[in-house]
Structures are given as C-alpha cells and as structure tokens.
C-alpha cells in the first residue's frame, strides 16, 4: 500500500476534453451547412433580392465570419465535409469504412482515396475505437440519450439493458459489404450513424428537408433507449466493427492499477460500452473514452502501452475481498 503508483494527474480530466471534442465536431457539422448557405448568398451578389429570413442569416454569418476572413466565398472553403469524408485546408480525410465500402462496391482501388484514410487507420491501430468515443457525432447524441434514459428511470420508465452477442456487428459489416458489392453502391453509408448525421444535418439545413436517414437514426436512438444501452454502437455498427478489428492490438489502452483499486465497481457502472474494467476486461471494444479514469475514486485507472490487456489481476488491494486473504495481508504488511 505504501508503494502506490500514481497515474498522471491529467488523465482524470481527459473525459472533459473528450466532451469538448465531441461538442466541437457536432457544432462543426451544424455550422458548415450554414456557412455554405451564406457562401451561396455571397456568390450570388444579390443581397437585396434575399427574403427577410435569408437576410437575417446573411447578416449573422457575416458578423461571425468577418473577423476570420474578408473573402468568404473562397476562404471559407477551408473546412468542408463531415466525419465521413472531409477536407481541412486541402488536406483530405476519410472514414476507413468509406474506403472499404467503396472497394466492395466497385471492386476497384483508387489510391488517392485510399491515402485519405491513412491517418485515421494509423490512429485506430494505436488507439483502438478512439473515433467512436472521441469524434463520432452520433456518440455525442447517443451519450446524451443515455442520460435521457437515466432521467426516464427517475420517472419510473425502465430502459432496456439487454445483452447480445458483441459479434453481431461483424456480421452486419460483412453483410453490408456483400450487399454493397451486389448492388454496386456504398450501402454501408446508409446505416452508419456518423455518416447519416453529417449528411442529414446538411440536407436539413442547406437543402431544406431531411431524408430517410433521420428516421433510421431516431430508430437507433429508440433501440438504445428501450432495448440495450448503447446497443447500436456495441452490437450493430459496421464502423465500430471495423475499428474493433483494426484496434484489436492497439498500443494505447486503459488498465487497472490493482494496488489502488477498492472494487467499488463505479467503472463498470459508468462504462457506456458495458465492459468490465473491474476485472481487467477491456478487449477490442474499449474506445478509450476515459470515463472510468474520470470516475475512479482511488486513482486506479491509467493508460498503458501494451498490445494486450493485463490478465485478470484479481481483487483490488484496497477492497474488502483482498483483505480476507490473510497470506496476502501479511505480505502487504512487510
């Protein structure tokens, strides 16, 4: 007990940073369509012909973007797109699932497009499903949805917490790719929530009407609420399946410091993905969201560089379970 390993103090605050990035990504997806609409008004050079509501949007966007650039028509093109595929100052990034889906649909490999997924793939190999926890705009809504579920619980409505086989999502991925190959169109994009959200936000704001994707997404929210907590991400998401496979031997993972652990099981309760940090079971599903690090009352969770999880370390040394074993206690006293 006297030789305590203290995790780096900032790890506890990573969860706040994660919420910040999730919020920023979501705000980006909302603001980009507005920016585009503003750009089209600028390009038309016809402020006087705009309807009053359009003028209002023009004025607001002009006020917001004036400090950034004096050439909105060209310079605001710097950031475009969604998490499915986007450009940042001429630098293109794409979702690895988009690459795989396109390869399945067309039986072709287009190298420039392949390279746009290089950085996401490298990050996924290092950090596992980090996209799911840190960037995915659907995660932002799904985690809020979990909070709604807790609220419903207070009003006496029980939310579903069924468990299924985690391998269903690999089946969804494979079937999605096979169907993509048969139909010759990238069908995985139609059931992949982050792609749906980016797209539907653009359709809704800039093109004046949402499509079938929104209906599907609401369906997944209800599934999460009534059937299984974060059920879509854990059991059905094809992207999550791909990232789980890529990040199976991820180098950066969370581990439990058994010396500090008191078996309170708060980590198991907070884990959105229903994993078992208390018994060192993270596996390929963990998305490094750091919620368990943030909630741990005894600083028993930290990051480690290991391609595999620690084997089960047994009861935490601060817990009651551990003190029941006298042989170990004696050792501890020395």
């Amino acid at each position: 007990m006297n030789t305590k390993i203290k995790p780096f103090f900032l790890w506890r605050h990573l969860n706040k940073l994660r919420w910040l990035t999730l919020t920023l990504v979501f705000l980006m997806l909302i603001s980009l369509p507005f920016i585009h609409v503003y750009q089209t008004y600028v390009a038309a050079h016809a402020y006087d012909l705009l309807a009053p509501s359009e003028k209002q949007l023009y004025d607001v966007m002009e006020t917001l973007t004036a400090p950034l650039t004096n050439d909105p028509q060209e310079k605001l093109d710097a950031i475009k797109g969604t998490t499915w595929s986007g450009t940042f100052w001429e630098f293109k990034l794409s979702d690895p699932l988009a690459i795989v889906g396109q390869m399945a649909a067309g039986f072709t490999v287009y190298t420039p497009f392949l390279l746009t997924a290089l950085i996401p793939v490298i990050f996924t190999v290092l950090f596992g499903r980090f996209f799911c926890g840190w960037i995915c705009p659907a995660t932002f809504l799904y985690e809020l949805n979990t909070n709604v579920a807790a609220l419903l619980q207070r009003f006496g409505i029980k939310y579903g917490n069924r468990r299924f086989d985690l391998r269903i999502k690999y089946l969804v991925l494979v079937v999605g790719l096979i169907l993509s190959a048969i139909t010759g169109s990238v069908l995985v994009a139609t059931i992949y929530p982050p792609a749906i959200i980016g797209r539907e936000l653009y359709y809704t704001i800039a093109l004046g009407g949402f499509g079938a994707g929104t209906v599907f997404f609401i369906g997944t929210l209800l599934f999460d609420l009534l059937v299984a907590r974060r059920g879509f991400c854990r059991y059905l998401c094809p992207g999550g399946a791909l990232y789980s496979l890529l990040g199976r031997f991820r180098l950066v993972r969370i581990r439990r410091i058994v010396e500090n652990c008191n078996d309170c099981a708060k980590c198991n309760a907070i884990c959105e993905f229903g994993l078992d940090p208390l018994r060192d079971h993270f596996g390929q599903e963990c998305n490094n969201c750091t919620a368990c690090i943030a909630i741990c009352p005894t600083n028993a969770m930290t990051f480690t560089l290991r391609p595999m999880d620690y084997p089960e370390q047994g009861a935490g040394h601060l817990g009651r379970q551990y003190r029941k074993i006298p042989a170990l206690m004696d050792k501890e006293v020395d």
Binding site: S85, Q102, Y110, F113, G184, V186, A195, R199, L207
Partner: protein, 204 residues
C-alpha cells in the same frame, strides 16, 4: 392469459409479414435500374462524373462534399427516390443549373468526380424543341439561352440569317444554364445524353 396470447399472435403475424416482405425487398434492391424516363431528363450528374452510371454510383461514397462547396447550391442528392443511387448527387437545371466552377471536381475524395477540362466535361447536351421555342415559332425575339451560355459560340449560337433562333453545337457540355434561364413555361430546351442528342442533324 388473453392479452399474452393476443400479443404473441400479433408478434407472430408481424414476423410473418416482415418475412413475406423480405423477398420483395431483396428483389427491389437487386432489380436493374430502369431506363431514364421523360420526367428524369433533367437529372444530370455533376461535371466530371464517371461516364458509366453504375461505375459512378459505386465510386460515390455519398459524403456530400460536392454539394457543400457548390456556389450556386445546384447539387442536390437522391434520397428516398434514389434506390441504389441513394445519397448520390444530381443537378436539376430546372431548379438550379451548374456554373462550371470546377469546385466539386476538386473536392471529391474519390474518382467519382474527376478533374476535367471545361470543354471535355460531358453532363449531356442541350436539345431545343423547335415547335415551342419562341423565336423558332416566330413568337418574338429571345436569345436568353445564347447570352447565358458560359461556353460561348462553340456551344450555342443563332441560326445564320434568322436571328434569335438558337442552335446547339457540339461543344455544349450540358451545364443547364440555358434550361434555368429559358422563359418559356414548357422549357423547350433541356439536356439529354450526348448520344441521344440530335445536334449533328442540325443545319447551321
């Protein structure tokens, strides 16, 4: 319990219904795409799109970037109407026409829209109905399509000696600005696939 058996019955029937509808759904998905109908004549692919429609559909990942950079906001997306073309872009010049700014080709991450020099773009070719166009039926002077054309003389011009009677020429890339600007309510100018155009038969 009566309620339980009723619910069981209901679930069994719903499952049966869903199972029965499955073959139809699969058949619907696998069905070959229909030939372009007359209503669809103005649904164009954005400039630089792969010539082969099925190659375009399989190359497009539906990211919507082309729409997001489009200055006139002319690029729309197939949605429920799309079938296997869902989320792929189209331009309907009757609503809003392409201005050939090349931004969509630059931003497209896949080879679905490839960078193409302006005169090599092939979205289609304009077609004029000479039984409706105002100057062609001697109902006044117009020339709106000729004056809006971004490609100039090589794409559309007036018939020699008969001013204001527009003639489409081979350099037309089918951007559709003429369709957007045409004042005639029945739109006697529209875009067709290049192979279906009758431009070669025109006497200039």
């Amino acid at each position: 319990m009566q309620r339980r058996s009723f619910l069981q019955n209901l679930i069994a029937k719903a499952t049966l219904l869903a199972g029965a509808a499955l073959p139809y759904g699969v058949a619907r998905v696998l069905a070959p795409t229909e030939a372009r109908s007359d209503e669809e004549r103005n649904y164009l692919r954005p400039p630089g799109a792969l010539k082969d429609e099925s190659a375009f559909v399989s190359a497009c990942i539906g990211c919507g970037l082309c729409g997001e950079v489009c200055p006139p906001r002319c690029i729309r997306f197939h949605d429920r109407d799309g079938g296997d073309k869902v989320n792929t872009p189209y331009i309907n010049p009757e609503e809003k026409a392409c201005i050939l700014c090349d931004k969509c080709m630059e931003v497209c991450p896949t080879e679905a829209l490839t960078k193409t020099p302006r005169f090599d773009i092939d979205m289609g070719i304009a077609q004029i109905d000479r039984t409706a166009c105002y100057p062609w039926v001697d109902r006044g002077i117009c020339g709106a399509c000729v004056s809006i054309c971004p490609l100039g003389e090589r794409a559309i011009g007036f018939k020699m000696w008969y001013q204001y009677q527009p003639i489409v020429k081979q350099a037309c890339v089918g951007c559709g600005l003429c369709v957007e600007v045409c004042p005639h309510p029945s739109l006697p100018i529209w875009i067709v696939e290049r192979s279906k155009g009758t431009v070669a038969g025109h006497t200039v």
